[in-house]
Symmetry: C2
């Protein structure tokens, strides 16, 4: 939840004058998205989302994100569609921050993940991978294997405070992943953060995907591995193979995994677990205790990581 | 800003089944209201606000607040109108908390207060006072003069850490206010918290008043005094008599102040400043540093208090 930047009514009026979407009728900060400030804008024409990009987003990446959402929307993916101003621009400034208006997506993200959600997520992820194939811009994944060791080094001192022996375990894990990380797998644009709060459902049907601000170019199967972490563990941290089977089978109906991808999946899932463990660990150590953001427990992902380490084939994932 | 309680999709569905307002289409936590969790609900029929009452609100007071909003709505005041379920009830439970649905008010609260806002606020406040006159329920003001000393005693130890000599200054102030607080002034239902984030404007017209969860029975002029504090000081803490004049003149067009009220106003304004100073001081001292709520600076109100102490008549307020 986050509203970091307050927007004055006068500056909002000036900002909206660049668009053809009517006049502001209501403008409410919403508890959505961790990295940016989001407002729900109601105008005489309808509902929109106004996003102010805060310091964790590199302004140089914004043209990629906005063009990607344009591209995916044109290919029928239900994602926020950037609204372009009269000058054709989707990106401008508001309250001193880069800002954009996107379409409003109906639906709610599932607070409690059930098996029924996992199939639609797998199908939507595969659809996203196919729809992004002819997208021309690229953005490397800064949070893939090469980015993990620097993240670990920046958090090493705090790791053992969180769990005895954690630093040594993570370092050994890094050694394995760096040595064995697959280099040639089918790749393209991935979402890279498809957690339950980024997927909307309406009447049990998936109605939209949001928050493309980690999207990048990487192996499709790594995106699948992220979803296995995000959707298939229970609150007690146990893996639910039924959820994984639903997710993977639905994914494969739209985009079958190649043999190399299936073989790599347990390792990719370890990597994905480590990636979220490391960013949470970093935030845990570097977020001031009085910050407005609630820190997430890194050790949740240690449990996930250990599960994936014990897995040897797709049979462990319900297939 | 606040969303303290997460609502599951399944429990929301059960909750909404009690109402005739269509099915949920979107449900977003909004950064509005400090005391409760608020969600913007979009249904197939329109937009609504769902409020979950958190621990700072006494559940026994909720029938008063909801009946008051019903009463005021019926008298043409633009305030959130409680939506009643098929059983006639406006108050039920959601996610383990007392909860209610109210109508959605269009407009935005002014982030930067200008003179043009102050007249409409004065007029709306007077309209509210008149509209509440035949409301039958009553609720004493727990945060009036009798409540201030206990609040001060609970915060005394921290006062001097915040400002040298603060405890002594506040105690002297309390002595004066307790001795001189007027006992017989025209009274009725007051809003008691009409700050700028509780007043919506649309195209420079006041479009609604929200957040009646401090409403109570007290002197009308005390509500005016609260507004003088809330609307008429500049960011540099200087009093703006032009704003005060606009507010008071507009108030008096609808409900002229009686001589006793005019005479009491500087003292009531001191009391109002002390009331917000004390609650902020209490929160400052008792809010854990890692809380999700941003603490507000109590010393802002010390500056206001000192101004009112120096005032002798309504001439100091622009009249």
């Amino acid at each position: 939840m986050a509203v970091y930047t307050e927007v004055g009514d006068a500056e909002l009026e000036v900002f909206l004058a660049e668009y053809d979407i009517g006049e502001a009728d209501a403008f409410k900060g919403i508890a959505e998205g961790v990295e940016n400030s989001n407002y729900l804008l109601t105008t005489t024409r309808g509902q929109y989302i106004v996003t102010l990009y805060e310091k964790r987003v590199d302004p140089d990446d914004l043209p990629f994100f906005l063009a990607l959402m344009d591209h995916l929307s044109q290919r029928g993916i239900n994602c926020p569609q950037p609204i372009h101003g009269r000058d054709g621009q989707a990106l401008r400034r508001l309250a001193g921050k880069p800002a954009a208006i996107t379409s409003f997506l109906h639906g709610m993200w599932p607070r409690r993940i059930a098996v029924k959600h996992c199939g639609p997520v797998g199908a939507a992820l595969a659809g996203l991978h196919l729809a992004g194939q002819d997208f021309k811009m690229t953005r490397p994944n800064a949070l893939s294997v090469a980015g993990w060791r620097p993240l670990f080094e920046a958090s090493r001192s705090g790791a053992d405070e969180l769990g005895h022996g954690l630093a040594r375990e993570l370092e050994a894990e890094l050694d394995v992943l760096e040595a064995e990380w697959p280099k040639v797998l089918p790749s393209g644009v991935i979402h890279a953060d498809l957690f339950n709060d980024n997927v909307f459902f309406l009447h049990d049907r998936l109605s939209g995907l949001i928050d493309f601000y980690f999207a990048c170019n990487d192996a499709f199967a790594y995106d699948v591995a992220i979803c296995l972490n995000a959707w298939c563990f229970e609150p007690d941290r146990a893996f639910n193979a039924t959820k994984a089977r639903a997710l993977l089978q639905a994914y494969e109906k739209t985009r079958p995994l190649e043999p190399a991808e299936r073989k790599a999946l347990p390792l990719l899932a370890r990597g994905a677990a480590l990636r979220f463990l490391l960013t949470r660990l970093y935030d845990w150590i570097h977020t001031p205790a009085n910050a407005l953001v609630k820190r997430k427990d890194p050790l949740e992902y240690l449990a996930y990581l250990r599960f994936h380490r014990s897995a040897t084939s797709l049979a462990d994932y319900g297939l």
